[in-house]
Symmetry: C2
Subunit: 319 residues, 2 copies
Amino acid sequence: MAGEFDLIKRYAPRGADRSDVLLGSGDDAALLQVPAGRVLAATVDTLVQGRHFPEKTNPYDIGWKSVAVNLSDLAAMGAEAAWLTVALTLPRELEGREAWMQAFCEGVHDLAKAHDVAVVGGDLTSGPTSITVQALGHVGEREALRRDAACPGDLVAVTGALGDAALALYLLDNSAAPVPEALLGRLNRPAPRLDAGRALAGLAHAAIDISDGLAADLGHVLEASGVGAVLELDKLPLSSEFRAHCPEGLMESMVLTGGDDYELCVCLSEDRLDEARAAVPGLTVIGRLGTQTGLQVFNAEGKTVELGRAGFDHFKENG
Amino acid sequence: MAGEFDLIKRYAPRGADRSDVLLGSGDDAALLQVPAGRVLAATVDTLVQGRHFPEKTNPYDIGWKSVAVNLSDLAAMGAEAAWLTVALTLPRELEGREAWMQAFCEGVHDLAKAHDVAVVGGDLTSGPTSITVQALGHVGEREALRRDAACPGDLVAVTGALGDAALALYLLDNSAAPVPEALLGRLNRPAPRLDAGRALAGLAHAAIDISDGLAADLGHVLEASGVGAVLELDKLPLSSEFRAHCPEGLMESMVLTGGDDYELCVCLSEDRLDEARAAVPGLTVIGRLGTQTGLQVFNAEGKTVELGRAGFDHFKENG
């Protein structure tokens, strides 16, 4: 059986080749050139099997998603993604372990390469399956989309349809029929909105990516910025697949508190809206910020929607 | 029971306050200022319970060690450590979980602060205990201590005593008597040799930190640089505690293939030795590089020492 060093050499995902990688994997640390006048953006996220992805998720998708959720965080800063490190823990006794690793690494490599991101470091250990990815990028300091810079009066907008990933997860658990590919793809291979984030850098005031659900994530922006928001439920963008497959009565919770969409939620001045829409096709205005704190959502009849469970919390909930 | 967000806020280790942290924990990504003319150094390592630290290790020491092994990698590049991210996975059902977290975070904070390193991001998930730390720092591009830059004729030197951590681990498993604190401290609270690394940057040719054992780690340098080395066993620095407690016949394997020392092994030109010794007290020459590839170790009688197990390999071995 191949040892750690052999496995790392054989399957190590490289991602893109970049001239700003002065020294990549294989030394004690990677050496990377941050462009002059830009600041480093750094984020980290761990995915644990059975919690962040269903047990049966194929390893290619796990690799993809591990990268996607981190690139999504850079997108939410308006940053350009440049480099990744990947720490993989995998049971030694896992059946088909080498094939698993190979597929996982392909998933990492493919998404990284698609976004011109280099994989510059990694760590492989044996233990219960989990993955921690750190994504590094850069952004102009004054252009960064922080959570604390939203202003009363700003429009609230999202970059794409909400609820697809939560619906896919629900159907996996509760439906005997195969889950439509279009929904499953949103759950297993989310698309980090790096282009949208870069386009909105220096244009929008604030942004966050929707990982824990719109209500919870927008809530972080509201809290950090000391503002409140009013959203209109029937303005939330839904995909045709979502409309076709969402069970009666579950729409509200799927789109408001379902996580894993990885769309961006941005706050921007109304007078920049046309510019933002031109730069980000599909940007949808869903509400407006005000000075009264808290989040209120109204449905088409003008009634307040109960938000209930405020978001995904790994320790509070079973999610 | 407190939820994830509460726990993170309550115990989050901050480390040092640094003016180059433009935005710390709490947003989608941290924003960090790499000094002009320096390149970013990035490294990542995962620690899994029962594999990288004994089950009974106290959480303060686990936090400390998680940081130490990563700062050690920056030290081995000759880099100045600046920032950390910490991803912690901990079982939700763990008894005394909050106290565990608090102590863990104190260990992270204390070592980070001692080296003027800021903790700029984190992630907390529930699952089997593991920790992934990413350390970020910076170094002058031409001063970095790479593995591939060692030269034939270079002296091989180490920054401190070897074998203490391996002996502590051995005694924990095989001795009923309490393990001497001086040895246990080397295992549980290793000291990253950041000062030595910085002092040797631009002075030594190559360096690596000794995490998997001298033979394995020096072996990486030899392979990357296309050189070989001859070491003299009786020149390897041993602590008085080590000499007092190491069982007959185990010395060679402890100092040559025992891991977890986190001393630096450096290769440098003989004409820079005085300068290096002045900058790094305790630097000990243990051998010399040559053009014949491979690693040979001779004992005091001039006989070749069998290296046997070449180093710590998580997948090959039980270590």
